[in-house]
Symmetry: C2
Subunit: 147 residues, 2 copies
């Protein structure tokens, strides 16, 4: 459905329309992703953290995880709290620099990821109606928008 119909409004200009459309579409994607992840008892940001940890191959500082995330807020700590409660990751104090906390994924965490790997993840990067070329064009426009 075209965005103007969705919110039953008109727009001042194409930029205004694009900005509203952007937020609406991001919201839709977020909802699709979260509802998909729900059956694994994970939220999307939690899943992201686990993937980052697996990708790191080794222990990694909280800061390093944060730098790979879309949101750079203290949320990372809180999300990790929940993952640790679930036994999917763990913290280790760094001895050489005692400000730093290292984190790593546990066996249970790897298993959880494996389970998702084996599932159909097409909903996670759902942009199904775009071709690869269009997806590339979209990314370029977004990069340019942010400046």
């Amino acid at each position: 459905m075209e965005i103007g119909q969705v919110i039953q409004s008109k727009f001042r200009n194409s930029k205004h329309k694009a900005v509203v459309n952007l937020r609406y579409t991001a919201n839709c994607l977020g909802n699709i992703q979260n509802s998909y992840m729900a059956k694994f008892d994970l939220s999307m940001p939690q899943f992201n953290i686990l993937r980052i940890l697996r990708g790191a191959q080794d222990v990694i500082s909280v800061n390093a995880v944060k730098s790979r995330m879309v949101e750079k807020s203290p949320n990372t700590t809180r999300l990790m709290d929940k993952l640790i409660d679930k036994g999917l990751m763990e913290r280790v104090r760094c001895e050489s620099d005692r400000r730093v906390v290292y984190v790593s994924i546990t066996e249970a965490g790897l298993n959880a990821l494996k389970q998702i790997d084996e599932d159909d993840q097409s909903k996670l990067d759902f942009a199904g109606n775009l071709t690869e070329t269009e997806a590339e064009a979209l990314s370029d426009l977004l990069d340019k928008l942010r400046g």
Copy 2:
């Protein structure tokens, strides 16, 4: 900055990249908008509700407001609670259908909007680095993405 640099990662394909980029960009825009609105002691969704109410010219049901918003959740009620606390809008029970609650903007609400009108709103639909044509193309891609 290009999205791959922002989150220091590579992507499986262009679709994956576009989806991550989309959420990241929407997030950036939201932050810009909220920080702009902060000086008026309003959040962006609160501001949206006030604009919808002003645009309605008359009392309007909560449902009608909801249908013009990006998020269709019970949040509308909660946002309205806050606006009413601030004296910017009010509720009136509909007498013909007692399930319905009408809402309308107050004088104070109109004044608040007027104050914002007179300010430089360029941050609100910040997509400054896009041309109108590009903004149009972006909207089209987003519409197609959602299907």
